[in-house]
Symmetry: C2
């Protein structure tokens, strides 16, 4: 069964553009997914960052396709990553919570849950055509043994299961382990140093080398590969290697961006050197909007968009995106296709000549007609926060059915998801329902969601009528997955990951005392 | 005497970069200044506008230099234009008011004043080397006979003295005349149609043809020229020609931008066709920030910047800017030089090999080392609103000595210069003085002026100390010009411009009853 989105897409598609060619063969191109962490749409020169400090990404766009209207599936890290790898919205793949209404949930150390074994991940699918898959960097789909990457289709992993928060004292909370494949090789702040005072850490360089080495090995083995390159330097606490510290004119966050940009330049150059560039599809994006609540030293820019991470405004979910595949994707193209991180799943499978799973609903669109022929396919974008569909975009129109930045209580503590921004009735501090009369914006005229369309106009009525049909179909056919992010327990933290014995890095877990996680946002 | 800015610049300059070469000869290149009206920094694809509808401007940037930190001299049209043509801040050239504190003033029809005959304008200076000068489009330096372009150095003019507001009924207020040289050839909404309902007007096409024709004639005459091309299609009421209406995905404002972008592409192509491209310096910018108070159909984007037109926040004064001179300005360069519309004056004179006037203070920097060698020159940017220096930028730091968006009274009428934006204590609705402890932002880290630097930090003290010296020098040496924008009178309106008799378009002026103009903003 294909999902309702895809059904709609096909209907519209046939009206406005050539339907995607069936059974077209692209061989088995290598696939590299570069997923940034909390990087904002506005952090790239090509998307208007005034400092223009991303020459490699700007060149990548000039050699490939820039996607201006690309979205994540959730304004927070774990659900976004789960969506990328499953091609399904978090509401379907279980990466959400029902502990409270419309709350963002993720996978901190005390999280009991993780990616369900019922979910089929991209690397599992790609095995059908002999792809070897590696994840480098942040996993974030659960840190307990059964949830780790090598249990879900990846052949290799270098990185960590959780965010690089810390340092911790190891008695009340252990530091996050860094894994090489299925065994830990050290912990953050211990063997893998992050100096929170200076911001120095060589992790991005390690991740770069792991990526280059993997590419090289696969080139020699002449085996198709998936590299899921997910560095986390732009997530707070922001870090960069020594030679990049102080390089940016905009502080430590900019240093991290410059280092990532440099690394991406090296990866693309490596592909060229190895003669793999015409046979490797590279897709660059970020997991959610810039974490503007963290201030300018520790977070990026969402350009002209409203608010940031944690919210379902554009600043929380519109992502920078570049597709690169020399000789296949025409250079210097710009696409306004509404696209989503879930699409990476089906698009990758199409490129590899593999059919999508037929036993479940997918939310994932095949973007190959967009990438290769600059087609435009009509499809909606759903903006979820936890268990609630907060907003929907259809064409240029976005309707907010629910609005919320965060609670007054959190806001009054100084947690501000919309610093410097306030749109009356929109950036609300109570969960406000607008289902009877959604707030509608024309996102192309008004990307900043500042000027709600007057409800008494024909434009409003027409837009609402168009959106309502999409919403009705979506809601009527949606079967939510079992929520995986409800339970927390100190006992499940990274006390004794596999491999800890060899390193003398095991700690004793406390007694299990599970509780329903508190998700304030 | 050179101005204090320039003195400072020279001092800093010698520390950080090669001083501009003296007496370097560039021949007498043609000069084209393209000045947009209320276009915002964020309206160009190259500056991050998500629709990416300015391929010609983006290409112009790729062939020339993009200036990311270019400023106007005032967040309103008339003073900004006076600054461009005189190389002096409005506080010096008289384009300000003293009727109330820190008020924006301009030249509506009832304005008695205009550009003083004491001011020396760029075309007057360029005559020394035989330049022929034409202004196409909006003048806005006074509409009474003694203030018109041909009285101030221009040899030709096609356009109008005031904004294209209207239509008026001709009894209480005449429509704005359109001039061909020193005689009117019709009026807006009469011979020069602007359909406010459909947004259709062919004015940009007329302005384009006037520009192309002038270039052609000068090419044939082999005479160096100044073309000051100042179309006003992006000023409310926004208009476009029939073939551009509906072309943009972002509405009428976008249509106007696409038409202007197309026209600019044609002008550059024309220069190439005539073999003039290597001998013509073209500079593109806008007179002030996007008029975001007008809503998305009638105004543009200030990208990530705070507020818009009328304010001294970045959204009011940071301008899109591109310098183009094939074979001279290296292609594809980006400069973060702090630069200002006043610099166009000295830069143009340097290119023409003409010394600046030595009998007055200029605020104008010679940008040729920046444009031709990508040098960086240390210099401040002053943000004035009427008679008050509201803020100053030195390096990445901007100190607000006064903050104001507009009064509560105006705001409560629905006039909002910062829609969707609110920074506590910064976007104030009272005129708030901070001279004892300016609010300081690091504009490179925080272009949106959202995170004031903590006053108890060393960074704050160091920045303030550096800025204070600049402010002291500026204030101690500043001699304000006689304010020209204080008096209004219905009798001075465009009742009977020269040439009206031939057209039967003269009206009788009412009796003179001058009053001190009310400038609410």
């Amino acid at each position: 069964m294909i999902s309702c989105f895809v059904q709609i897409s096909i209907v519209f598609c046939c009206l406005i553009c050539p339907c995607p060619a069936k059974n077209r063969s692209y061989g088995t191109p290598n696939i590299i997914i570069m997923l940034m962490d909390d990087m904002g749409w506005g952090d790239l020169g090509v998307f208007g960052q005034p400092s223009k400090e991303t020459p490699n990404l700007d060149a990548m766009a000039a050699q490939g396709m820039l996607l201006t209207d690309f979205y994540t599936a959730n304004p927070l890290c774990s659900p976004s990553r789960a969506a990328l790898l499953t091609g399904r919205l978090p509401i379907r793949n279980g990466f959400y919570t029902t502990n409270a209404h419309a709350r963002n949930a993720y996978t901190p150390q005390e999280m009991v849950g993780g990616i369900s074994k019922e979910e089929i991940l991209l690397p599992q699918m790609l095995k059908k055509k002999g792809y070897v898959s590696k994840i480098v960097g942040k996993w974030h789909l659960g840190h307990r043994p059964q949830y780790l990457p090598l249990e879900h289709g990846f052949d290799e992993w270098f990185g960590a299961p959780n965010c690089h928060f810390g340092p911790y004292n190891s008695s009340s909370r252990p530091n996050i382990p860094v894994y090489n494949n299925s065994e830990m090789v050290g912990r953050y702040y211990e063997e893998f140093v992050i100096n929170k005072k200076t911001g120095e850490s060589n992790l991005t360089q390690l991740y770069l080398e792991e990526g280059l080495d993997f590419i090289h090995r696969q080139a020699l083995a002449q085996q198709p590969f998936l590299l899921y390159w997910a560095p986390d330097a732009t997530h707070s606490p922001v870090y960069a290697s020594k030679r990049f510290l102080g390089k940016s004119q905009r502080g430590r966050y900019g240093d991290a961006v410059i280092e990532l940009d440099d690394a991406i330049g090296q990866i693309l150059a490596w592909l060229r050197n190895l003669g793999l560039d015409n046979n490797t599809f590279v897709f660059f994006t970020s997991d959610n909007g810039a974490a503007v609540m963290s201030g300018p030293e520790e977070s990026g820019s969402n350009g002209p968009f409203l608010c940031g991470k944690e919210t379902t405004f554009e600043g929380g979910m519109r992502e920078p995106a570049i597709a690169w595949w020399p000789g296949h994707i025409p250079a210097g193209t710009v696409s306004h296709q509404l696209a989503s991180v879930v699409d990476v799943f089906t698009t990758s499978l199409t490129l590899a000549g593999i059919s999508t799973p037929d036993d479940r609903s997918l939310d994932s669109l095949d973007l190959t007609p967009v990438l290769l022929n600059n087609s435009l396919i009509n499809r909606p974008i759903f903006y979820y926060r936890g268990n609630e569909m907060m907003a929907v975009r259809v064409g240029p129109y976005k309707a907010h059915y629910w609005t919320w930045s965060n609670s007054w209580e959190e806001f009054n503590k100084g947690i501000n998801f919309c610093p410097g921004q306030e749109v009356a009735g929109v950036t609300t501090h109570i969960q406000k329902e607008h289902s009877m009369q959604p707030i509608i914006f024309h996102l192309v005229r008004d990307p900043g969601e500042k000027y709600p369309i007057n409800v008494v106009t024909k434009e409003y009525r027409d837009a609402l009528s168009r959106i309502s049909q999409v919403v009705e179909l979506h809601k009527n056919t949606l079967v939510p997955g079992l929520p995986q992010l409800n339970m927390c327990d100190m006992a499940v933290m990274n006390w004794a990951p596999a491999g800890c014995e060899k390193l003398g890095k095991c700690f004793k877990a406390p007694k299990s005392q599970p509780w329903k996680c508190d998700w304030p946002h």
